[in-house]
């Protein structure tokens, strides 16, 4: 099947390219738009972007493989990032991550068996004053206790979080 994107994503891409004096500068914003729609960046997607920006496919691949946020494999319905860096770790983020994985029956970096979540450790999310923090997709959850984690996992399992 040929590689296809929704009209909305195509419109976003058309909008970001002219913002920059040079086309290649739009690369990261385009990758963000595609990953948001498709969940990850397939090789087909990377080749499509190269063609759209008229750059060599390796230029796209270099960027995709450098930045931790870009993924080449699908993730669960919700992408969950547990901050593991200093201030969160001082406030128990390792336990938070263990508990979250336990509640969702998964391991860091894997898709949970019900497909609802991928839990990963992330480096500093810049909310150290409300440590420990967890990001569920775009939303930040702060000052978490183990009880909060149990509740958060329930909401994810029972699809209370869209």
């Amino acid at each position: 099947m040929a590689f296809e994107l929704s009209q909305e994503t195509l419109d976003t891409i058309d909008k970001v390219i002219p913002r920059y004096p040079q086309r290649q500068s739009a690369l990261m914003m385009i990758l963000h738009a595609i990953q948001k729609e498709q969940g990850y960046l397939s090789l087909e997607a990377q080749e499509w972007v190269a063609e759209r920006l008229e750059i060599a496919p390796i230029k796209v691949r270099e960027v995709v493989t450098f930045y931790p946020f870009y993924r080449e494999k699908p993730v669960g319905k919700h992408y969950i990032r547990v901050c593991r860096t200093l201030s969160c770790a001082l406030n128990g983020s390792y336990k938070i991550c263990d508990r979250l994985c336990q509640e969702l029956d998964t391991k860091p970096g894997e898709i949970s068996p019900d497909g609802k979540a991928t839990v990963e450790f992330a480096e500093c999310l810049a909310s150290c004053g409300t440590a420990p923090v967890v990001m569920v997709d775009d939303d930040m959850y702060e000052n978490l206790t183990e009880d909060d984690i149990v509740e958060l996992a329930r909401r994810i399992r029972e699809e209370e979080i869209k």
Binding site: Q24, E62, R84, L86, E123, L125, G129, M140, D148
Partner: protein, 462 residues
């Protein structure tokens, strides 16, 4: 059950000793991020004033203000602007560094979420001052709402002709674009940020020759300033450079937003006049002190790359003014020069407090894991060294410490700093060098601890 999603919650209990200039409105219950609210509170008045001045007059005010960069290096912003190559004939670019990613730092988040127009006004004044052809905000991926808030604010400002074509009829045009990162710490390094903005891997460039002021974005003259620094420009125009310089102390002018985190009762952000308070005030008065029954073990005074201070240590020497000092951690002035005189740095203004409930080797292992993950991989000493230090300290924390580890760690650290293209070499070496030097007894002691107990420990940081 207090589980709710927040996007930088309001801090309604502002400490009476704070001196809020940048965050003056941010936490007011009736204040929001809209342009109407900003305009009702005198917003964009300073831009109008600045556009009636000559660009070089604005640059002079910023220079007179002595405002130092709030991102980490503390370099005077007016000097940075002075280095701009204006003779090349190439377009000039202004970039706001909103990559805020030094562990412990969460101040720019407050500005972006709560008062985005202040940043935009500061940027448009700065852009006009340096006659930028275009301006960018490079915001980290982990602030998706921040990026959205800024994009909406930019459209509001554009609709009122505060940016874009022929701004306020001045004949000056400058567009402002939000660019999102993708979770790489190294993009906070200004030349790495520029590479990233060009759509490449964020490999920092070597200086010289690639000083952004001469050879920056697209090899054109470029100024990269931190969010808080650019906000200050608005207030410098309002007060005048010399009046601004009256705030704080000579060489340490203005206020700073300190991010306090770790083992304190009231972690948070506190905007304080420079040089008036001490680290002791921040931790004990603003931060409410340590938790019950806990003793201070260490303080990291300016983001996790800053050299650590051990509780009880004293700093002695002579200030630039010739005045002698003999400080405990609690006496070190909260400004740029104080922590530097005490052998460390104020960095991004992120103070991390560590009490005696945690193992200091484990703390370093946690920090080392960060820097190993974030090394861009360009320079061998940093790429290999940061990973090696991480492996050693992780093994030590997990019960595999050897007697020779302490000396080995020190020697690796010594061979990274100063041998890399960018300051990530120092950033990854300083924690190891300082932790090992100041807590040598605890590192040596690690080899004597029971490996089985360590591997089964309940609280982990690696």
């Amino acid at each position: 059950m207090s589980l709710e999603t927040h996007i930088a919650r309001k801090n309604l209990a502002i400490h009476p000793k704070e001196r809020r200039i940048i965050l003056k409105h941010a936490d007011r219950p009736d204040y929001d991020a809209s342009i109407d609210c900003y305009l009702r509170n005198g917003g964009y008045d300073q831009q109008k004033k600045a556009f009636s001045m000559k660009p070089e007059e604005i640059c002079q005010e910023v220079l007179d203000a002595g405002v130092r960069g709030r991102g980490g290096a503390g370099f005077p912003a007016g000097m940075k602007w002075k280095f701009l190559d204006r003779k090349s004939g190439k377009p000039i670019y202004l970039i706001c560094n909103a990559d805020e990613s030094e562990p412990g730092t969460f101040k720019d988040r407050q500005i972006i979420h709560k008062d985005p127009h202040q940043l935009i006004e500061g940027m448009m004044i700065s852009a006009f001052a340096i006659q930028a052809a275009q301006a960018f905000i490079y915001i980290r991926e982990e602030m998706p709402y921040g990026a959205k808030i800024l994009e909406e604010a930019i459209e509001e400002a554009r609709a009122k002709n505060l940016l874009g074509d022929n701004i306020l009829g001045s004949g000056y045009s400058c567009d402002l674009v939000v660019h999102r990162g993708a979770a790489a710490y190294i993009c906070g390094e200004e030349t790495g940020l520029i590479e990233s903005l060009e759509g490449k891997r964020a490999y920092p460039r070597i200086k010289p020759p690639y000083f952004p002021a001469a050879l920056g974005l697209y090899m054109c003259p470029t100024i990269v300033n931190n969010v808080e620094t650019l906000c200050n420009v608005k207030h410098i125009i309002e007060m005048g450079g010399h009046a601004y310089a009256e705030i704080g102390k000579p060489g340490n002018t203005g206020t700073r937003i300190w991010s306090l985190s770790g083992h304190v009762r009231k972690p948070g952000y506190y905007e304080l006049e420079n040089g008036v308070h001490t680290y002791g005030d921040l931790i004990n008065e603003f931060g409410g002190g340590l938790r019950d029954g806990r003793q201070l073990q260490a303080v990291i005074p300016g983001g996790s790359s800053a050299k650590v201070w051990r509780a009880g240590e004293r700093f002695k020497g002579k200030l630039r003014s010739g005045e002698e000092f003999d400080w405990a951690i609690e006496d070190v002035p909260l400004d740029f020069d104080g922590p530097m005189a005490a052998g460390s740095m104020s960095g991004s203004g992120a103070v991390v407090v560590i009490d005696d409930s945690v193992d200091i080797v484990e703390v370093l292992a946690n920090i080392n894991a960060f820097y190993a993950h974030e090394s861009c991989g360009q320079c061998t000493p940093c790429r290999e060294g940061s990973l090696w230090m991480k492996k050693i300290t992780t093994r030590m924390a997990n019960g595999g410490a050897r007697e020779e580890d302490t000396a080995l760690l020190a020697s690796i650290g010594d061979q990274i700093a100063g041998r890399t293209i960018c300051a990530h070499g120092e950033a990854c070496a300083w924690p190891t060098q300082s932790f090992v030097a100041k807590f040598q007894d605890k590192f040596l002691d690690k080899a004597k601890q029971d490996p089985e107990q360590l591997s089964k420990r309940d609280f982990r940081m690696v």
